[in-house]
Symmetry: C2
Subunit: 317 residues, 2 copies
């Protein structure tokens, strides 16, 4: 319980990187890396009591710290490379640090991300990751390229994480395989890096679904200067969601719940076959859920009729 800053860094974080483009690793005033083209920069903070609860397991906090940032890079079509971690912890609890780093480095290994530096501070538990990804010259996705008439797609299934969080909060996350699967979608989301990479040059606009579909698609529409109509009967749900919740509840989770970390993107109608083909290679399911229209804002329809959407999404602040 009495490890100092330098001991903690040495023991838990300075594990070495085998990336030849890391010219100077953890342990100096800065890390030095060697990029070979443009870089995408993302930063996301998780605060205890805001983004996770005091009951959240340390390895879930470590995993999600990296996952939520990877998801932002996925939405850019970027390849994750290097990160620095600012970790604020109330005390040097070795068990917590072991859990946190085990969750963090497990995901880092999967995506080939090198942790090259950071800062360790005492205070209310929070994590801020800065993650750097490589993008091609002018070849990256943005929120702003959507055109009226483009199809709107989402990867995977929606609403699972919001449903999972409810199951966790209700203490029933372990009640069945379906419960566990939804809880896992909240605790350990899979960022859509491969899908994002595959969509570069194909999608006209993209965003990751972190704050709920209505909110995030709304951001995409605003940046693209148009509106959207989505058909809620086309929203993709997991078998676990459909086993545990009625359709209306699933739709509400999908539209307004956060933390799914799927990609929502647009593409011209004539690219529909190509979209399905490249995402098949990326082992990602994809569903067309609507289209971009003239105007502004996101309108939901069910069976062609306006669908009442009471909430416009989650704001982390």
């Amino acid at each position: 319980m009495s490890l100092g800053e330098f001991q903690i860094i040495q023991r838990f974080f300075a594990l070495g990187n085998d990336d030849p483009d890391v010219l100077l690793d953890i342990g100096d005033d800065a890390a030095v890396v060697q990029p070979s083209g443009p870089l995408a920069l993302v930063t996301d903070t998780l605060v205890e009591g805001v983004h996770f609860s005091s009951q959240t397991a340390a390895d879930v906090v470590g995993y999600r710290t990296l996952a939520v940032n990877l998801s932002d890079l996925a939405a850019m079509g970027a390849q994750p490379r290097w990160c620095t971690l600012a970790l604020t912890i109330p005390d040097s609890n070795e068990g917590w640090l072991e859990g946190f780093t085990s969750g963090f480095f497990r995901l880092a290994k999967i995506y080939g991300v090198s942790l090259v530096g950071g800062d360790l501070t005492r205070g209310t538990l929070s994590t801020t990751l800065h993650l750097i990804g490589a993008v091609g010259d002018g070849a990256f996705l943005t929120r702003g390229g959507g055109q009226v008439g483009d199809d709107i797609y989402v990867t995977g299934s929606l609403g699972d994480a919001a449903a999972g969080l409810v199951l966790i909060d209700d203490g029933v996350a372990d009640e069945s395989d379906a419960h566990r699967a939804l809880a896992e979608r909240f605790s350990r989301p899979l960022p859509r890096i491969a899908a994002g990479r595959a969509l570069v040059g194909l999608a006209s606009a993209a965003i990751d679904v972190s704050d709920g579909l209505l909110a995030d698609l709304g951001h995409l529409c605003k940046s693209s200067g148009c509106g959207a109509v989505i058909d809620v009967e086309n929203l993709p749900f997991s078998v676990e969601m459909l086993a545990l919740f009625p359709p209306q509840t699933a739709q509400a989770y999908a539209l307004n719940g956060g933390d799914d970390y799927e990609l929502c993107f647009t593409a011209p109608a004539e690219k529909a076959d190509e979209v399905k083909a490249v995402l098949g290679v990326a082992e990602t399911t994809v569903h067309r859920i609507g289209e971009l229209v003239a105007g502004e804002g996101v309108e939901s329809r069910r069976d062609g009729a306006p669908f009442n959407q009471t909430d416009t999404g989650h704001q982390h602040f």
Copy 2:
């Protein structure tokens, strides 16, 4: 008091950058920048109650958020380029945000730093900056290149910030010009970017003095695999320090106090004239305070005799 996340970002932070190497600015899932060589990456967190008090003016928090990170880049001999800011605030106090951004952007303008992204979160007040600087190919400073026999130097004057913090805490920071000058050294330190740039290819090792000379020189020695002897009568003090404090107190502040953000560096004895010449051009005073020796640890001497050093420096954690 009720501004949302996106309004705050638009009004206070998304002010636009005229850097042609910023390919995608604030407002998407990531920023995209175009580097032209290796990059130095630094991250530092400031937490209310740990690194500054609840009484600290918002513009000082903004200024120091950038300054402490600039200082790390100075120690690498790097040229500051881009940053992302993770800001956690308890509420959307517009007056505080105006102060914070005024302090932050004032310093950003001086050093040509572009804020390209970030994250805004609700919670206990803390700031985490990720700052990226450009370095030449293999041409940057580290802590690890010092050799036995090298001279040890510091830029500027030491101890001012620690003394200034005491004056601020005692409520006497405004008592005279000298009091104000020392308090200002704590509140608005000047990172030694020009000095760091000038020392590339000349200094054998460098570190910034953020945790106190003994602690930081100790890190340099450990990385360089040697020890150090310093002569406390050669430590440089400001006229304000000498006007307000006896020499013993000044020496204690210099050795153990943090937050000066001067550079401590080493260079071979035959480079002494060149060191003084390049730092003269960088408008930085410099003093030789000792030399690297075989062994480990930092020994202080006064008039050639061992000097009692009771504290080995400040740990932020």
